[in-house]
């Protein structure tokens, strides 16, 4: 083999993984995205308030990230556009609330009380992590904001460990082949 071609090949073999590591959009078999379901369990304790989720990511507050009222199912919905990021939950008195309020108006309003912060609806985890869905339950009060759920239920999925069987089985087959050849 031409020496310069070999050196170029070695360079590519070393350089390409570095490029790969810097491309976040490449589907990554080493990680997975799981769902996080967030709900507020004591919403009915505040009948005079409307609760809304407002995105706080790079595009948070803009018209691309809609303000989503939390309904009777008490589940916190988050704007889907990727640059909306995570969300904060604000309580607004029903008398002060109107559906046309934008995210930035709510964030800057003295009438809106932040009750929850940093709410996300997905997590990016290594494939070795057995968590498959996370259910967070929050209890809110109007006097302080929290980002810690009072209860968390985690669904697990151990099917990842089936992947370990593939290399183990292949090693056994290779050993059997090599041993049989020597006999």
């Amino acid at each position: 083999m031409n020496k310069s071609m070999f050196i170029l090949g070695i360079f590519l073999l070393i350089a390409l993984p570095l490029v790969y590591a810097d491309v976040p959009s490449v589907p990554d078999p080493t990680h997975k995205t799981i769902s996080v379901v967030n709900n507020i369990t004591n919403l009915n304790d505040f009948p005079d308030y409307v609760f809304v989720s407002v995105s706080n990511g790079p595009a948070g507050g803009s018209s691309m990230c809609e303000v989503i009222p939390i309904g009777q199912d008490q589940i916190i919905e988050i704007a889907a556009y990727r640059w909306c990021g995570s969300a904060d939950v604000y309580a607004i008195k029903k008398s002060d609330y109107n559906q046309n309020l934008t995210g930035s108006q709510i964030i800057n309003s003295s009438m809106a009380i932040k009750v929850l912060s940093g709410i996300t609806n997905s997590e990016f985890l290594p494939v070795t992590d057995t968590r498959s869905t996370i259910y967070n339950e929050y209890k809110i009060n109007l006097s302080n904001s929290t980002d810690i759920p009072h209860k968390q239920v985690v669904e697990t999925d151990y099917s990842f460990y089936l992947y370990l069987i593939i290399p183990i089985f292949a090693i056994i087959v290779v050993i059997v082949i090599l041993v049989k050849r020597r006999q």
Partner: protein, 99 residues
């Protein structure tokens, strides 16, 4: 792309490389590609999920495949080095372009 689809893609790519270099016993080569990559590919992806260094892991895969190619395909050492090198380089390139 999950671990299984990454594995299937790698098996097919490396089979084509083996076939181009060896030009006989294609079914056997497919079997060897299946065996070799079933050892190295899931192991590497699992190791990567623990944030181990990608370059070091790629190099370990390259070395392991030299050993497996040499002994399974009964080739000369230099040819196994070349085949492992080209197969891993091409599968990495194609993975980058089409993943």
């Amino acid at each position: 792309m999950n671990i299984v689809s990454a594995l299937i893609l790698t098996i097919l790519i490396e089979f084509v490389i083996y076939a181009i270099f060896i030009r006989k016993d294609y079914l056997l080569l497919l079997g060897y590609s299946l065996l070799i990559n079933s050892i190295t590919n899931p192991t590497m992806n699992i190791a990567l999920s623990f944030s181990l260094n990608l370059i070091i892991l790629e190099f370990i895969v390259f070395l392991v495949e030299i050993f497996l190619i040499k002994h399974l395909m009964k080739t000369k050492y230099q040819f196994a080095v070349l085949l492992s090198f080209v197969a891993n380089l091409i599968s990495l390139l194609i993975g980058l372009i089409f993943a």
